[in-house]
């Protein structure tokens, strides 16, 4: 083994029921480098990082991982082992305790003691030393919740490094940061090299790699496509590596004839109602025809989920622009109002937002529709069951009967339950937020067929998807979102994976500028 290699990943394969998340992944990380990893959502980056962190313990995957020539075997799913081995991870979601100071957070679980009580002076002086060492300008006495996201991110890094980590993994650290904060972060990361820390840097923002990374690995569909020195790469090539695959016959052909425009969004701006002044939508315009499938593409954090939940009346406070349904301006401000207007949303997170897991299939399907089967005094349970059976058959939900709790179903069948529940409410507009995430190919196909069938019946569908193939395979037109605004609308005839990626990553200007010059 090369003296310069700190981490060696060999033939790692990790499977989840129905999905191969990592497929024979091999990767070498050199000592002291900043190693970028990029790929579409679902390419396997996060799974790989979770293996390195010990979240998926040894034995749950095949293949070997060596650090400094020694094989790593984290036997239980406690991340303690990884920390002891010198691997620290900073996740996308911050894991600091908001009500405690930066110093307390850094030493959480390993507080310095004196006579059995916390040695506060030592805790804060040590914290200060660590923060200074990495050039992080935060007071150890600052309370975390009073800091901005950028500072919190840096405190998190300090916490991760306080255990003398030799490898620091950053999972999309800049997704919530402003330009200036990103600059500061880059500075700190460059400084880490001098302290002998190796950095693995996962990001969607491809340009960042050119500013900071030494080498970049591109992943796709659970495989490593290429690992290359950044000097040998261009943005275009990276995008090609990320999406470079052919669309197979996985999408049933629909026979759609979109009619007149029934739904319009005009220059919509919205704020997060819980965080004053935080804009979640910054100018989105699009329209939707009767019986059309409009795909929405965009990376995580591009505002696509925020857009549909705002349209559903559940998230954003609209500050500018308007929404028109059949020519009338609407402003739904709760799920109930949106439903009454004929808009239904199948949410992204079916377990958290779509289902009551402990309840039966029939109870879940009928939940938003009970008013149709009941008087004030009584629910006609027979009618409710009959109608549920109809949908369960139509969507071929596989279950022994409809009275079993939905938590016992597979992901695909759970998703069909969520879709049934919204179909029963006869929507004019059905919004599907990543409807096929984490479900097997067969169930996906059935959901696609259903989408075709619905649109042929005149239901207009908005579908968000993380999979570009899916967007290209199913949509009539594609709205691409980037940083809270609509970056462009592509008719299906003109859309390619490269064009979508270019719009979604905001590098279209680069590519087009270069191709022009």
């Amino acid at each position: 083994m090369d003296q310069d290699t700190i981490l060696e990943i060999e033939h790692v394969t990790k499977e989840f029921p129905g999905v191969r998340a990592l497929d024979d992944v091999s990767l070498e990380v050199k000592r002291g480098e900043i190693h970028g990893i990029c790929g579409e959502n679902g390419a396997g980056k996060s799974t790989l990082m979770k293996i390195l962190a010990g979240v998926y313990p040894y034995g749950s995957y095949s293949g070997t991982i060596r650090m400094n020539g020694q094989e790593l075997r984290f036997t239980d799913s406690s991340i303690r082992h990884a920390i002891e081995a010198g691997i620290a991870i900073v996740y996308q979601e911050l894991t600091l305790v908001p009500g405690m100071t930066v110093g307390e957070n850094i030493f959480l679980g390993k507080e310095p003691l004196e006579h059995g009580v916390i040695h506060w002076n030592k805790l804060y002086s040590e914290s200060k030393r660590i923060l200074d060492k990495f050039g992080i300008e935060i007071s150890p006495h600052a309370v975390v919740k009073d800091l901005g996201v950028g500072k919190q991110q840096m405190a998190e890094i300090a916490k991760a490094l306080s255990e003398n980590a030799s490898i620091l993994i950053l999972d999309e650290p800049t997704s919530a940061l402003s330009e200036e904060e990103v600059g500061k972060l880059m500075e700190i990361l460059r400084g880490l090299k001098n302290h002998g820390v190796t950095c693995i840097y996962i990001s969607h923002k491809l340009e960042e790699f050119f500013k900071i990374a030494d080498r970049v690995t591109v992943m796709r569909d659970g495989k490593v496509v290429i690992t290359e020195d950044i000097s040998h790469l261009t943005l275009e090539r990276m995008v090609n590596y990320m999406v470079g695959r052919e669309i197979s016959e996985r999408f049933p052909k629909g026979n759609r004839h979109p009619g007149e425009v029934i739904f319009q969004v005009e220059n919509l701006w919205a704020e997060d109602p819980f965080q004053y002044g935080k804009e979640i939508l910054k100018g989105v315009s699009c329209d939707l025809r009767k019986g059309e499938i409009l795909g929405i593409a965009g990376l995580m954090g591009s505002g696509r989920t925020e857009l549909v939940t705002t349209l559903f009346g559940e998230l954003g406070k609209i500050t500018r622009g308007r929404i028109l349904l059949e020519g009338r301006a609407i402003a739904p401000c709760s799920a109930r109002e949106a439903m009454e207007l004929g808009i239904s949303l199948v949410p992204e997170d079916r377990k958290m937002l779509g289902l009551v897991l402990i309840q039966s299939i029939v109870e879940n399907i009928t939940l938003p529709n009970l008013h149709r089967f009941s008087s004030f005094l009584r629910i006609n349970k027979n009618a409710a069951l009959q109608e549920s059976i109809r949908y369960a058959n139509e969507l071929s939900i596989k279950a022994p009967h409809l009275h079993i709790p939905v938590e016992t179903l597979s992901g695909g069948n759970q998703q069909k339950v969520v879709i049934s529940k919204w179909l029963m409410s006869n929507p004019k507009i059905l919004i599907l937020d990543d409807p096929t995430r984490g479900i097997d190919v067969g169930a996906k196909y059935e959901i696609y067929k259903l989408m075709n069938q619905l649109s042929e019946q005149g239901v207009s569908i908005i579908m968000i998807s993380s999979e570009l193939e899916e967007v290209l395979g199913m949509s009539d037109r594609i709205l691409v979102m980037c940083e809270g605004r609509s970056a462009g609308i592509l008719p299906i005839g003109e859309a390619t994976q490269e064009k979508i990626m270019a719009l979604a990553t905001g590098i279209d200007k680069h590519i087009y500028n270069r191709s022009r010059s």
């Binding site: 799920a335 109930r336 958290m352 402990i358 309840q359 109870e363 009970l370």
Partner: protein, 397 residues
């Protein structure tokens, strides 16, 4: 195959755990008390003693199912009881004879009782509205609102009673909690209840048939209806051995049946379970959660009103200690009856069974002349043990 049988057995054990537990406790007390525990007189008392907590537990189930808690029910019950007693003893006797001159004292007493009942129920509902507004619409956590309510209405009890016991209570009012139906009336009620059970079974089957659903074998439905009917017949027979079917037990049966119906067959009831199961998913399904929670606390208030009436009739007075610690017994009954503290799971049947277990413990230990301090300790231990068994038999995650 054998695994399948084992699994089925396990499921059935879980369903009938409470009945087994109850029978075990009864059997133990039988031995320990030289079978005095099983005397018709004692059983009659036992069932009458359980009613007040059972009313509260019926409402508490819904409160806990939605993921809330109500700590005020004991104080509210006491508050209603104090007002009812004050109406009976001071207020109405000073007003009614002037309004209804020439009526017999008995007639005036009856009118007084009716007014007291209606007032008590209204007060219960108003308390529910008061707390419900804070919890559902002003978003103060139920724990806090009802903790405050616990103090407020305990204060109310002290204010109304002025530290004294309020007497007298009219006989017609005492009847509600202390009265018995004659044996004949008991049997007539039983007859109609049994008819209703069988009629309902058949009606359900025909309706299902109309919808083309597969039916359970007829013998199973008949067997089930038969068993329930048999239990009722045995119960009434035993009660008739003493003085007859107790009026408060009858009222409880009616109230519990209504609440059970509401929880299973109305939107209001089903939404409560959905809210407790996954609040976000329920909200995104377009359900008005505040309204639902509000109504549940109003219902809880109404049931506190009922409990207050029965309590006043039972002790035939308004006392300072009325309803003390009832909230804990009511919550414990729900938990013993399988209600999940995480919300979304729980039945009225379970809560009533739970309160029967709690009442059996209290009654059995009293019959044994056990010191009161032991009674507290054992009730507490049984609660912890019951939940431990529940956790241990559930599949681990």
């Amino acid at each position: 195959m054998s695994q399948k049988i084992l699994k089925r057995l396990q499921m059935n054990i879980r369903t009938y755990t409470m009945i087994f537990a109850l029978l075990l406790i009864w059997f133990l007390f039988g031995i320990l008390t030289d079978w005095v525990f099983f005397s018709p007189r004692n059983l009659s008392n036992l069932f009458r003693q359980m009613t007040i907590i059972s009313f509260l537990a019926c409402g508490m189930v819904l409160v806990i199912v939605t993921g809330n808690i109500d700590l005020s029910v004991g104080s509210v019950t006491g508050f209603v009881s104090a007002i009812a007693a004050a109406l009976q003893a001071y207020i109405l006797p000073s007003i009614l004879p002037n309004l209804f001159t020439g009526y017999s004292p008995f007639a005036i007493g009856t009118i007084s009782t009716i007014i007291t009942i209606v007032s008590s129920l209204i007060i219960g509902v108003l308390v529910g509205v008061f707390q419900g507004v804070f919890i559902a619409y002003l978003r103060v956590p139920a724990f806090i609102v009802t903790l405050g309510g616990m103090l407020i209405f305990r204060g109310g009890v002290l204010g109304i009673t002025q530290g004294k016991t309020i007497v007298p209570i009219h006989d017609t009012f005492r009847m509600i909690a202390q009265g018995y139906f004659s044996n004949e009336v008991g049997w007539i009620i039983t007859f109609f209840v049994v008819i209703a059970i069988f009629y309902n079974t058949i009606l359900n089957r025909t309706k299902k048939k109309e919808y083309g659903f597969q039916l359970q074998p007829l013998y199973r439905d008949i067997l089930k209806a038969g068993l329930i009917s048999l239990l009722i017949v045995v119960f009434v027979f035993l009660m008739n051995e003493y003085r007859g079917l107790q009026i408060p037990v009858f009222i409880l049966a009616v109230v519990a049946a209504i609440i059970a119906y509401i929880t299973n067959n109305t939107r209001f009831g089903r939404y409560a379970y959905a809210i407790g199961g996954n609040r976000e998913a329920t909200r995104l399904s377009g359900i008005n959660i505040p309204k639902n929670i509000f109504l549940i606390f109003v219902l809880m208030g109404l049931l506190c009103g009922v409990a207050g009436i029965i309590l006043t009739g039972y002790v035939a007075a308004g006392t300072i200690g009325a309803g003390l610690n009832y909230e804990l017994d009511a919550i414990a009954s729900c938990i013993l009856g399988g209600t999940s503290t995480l919300g979304g799971v729980g039945t009225v049947y379970g809560a009533v069974m739970g309160s029967l277990i709690m009442a059996s413990l209290a009654n059995g230990m009293s019959v044994m002349n056990m010191d009161i301090f032991w009674q507290y300790i054992i009730k507490g231990l049984v609660l912890i043990l019951a939940v431990y068994i529940d956790v241990a038999t559930k599949k681990t995650r």
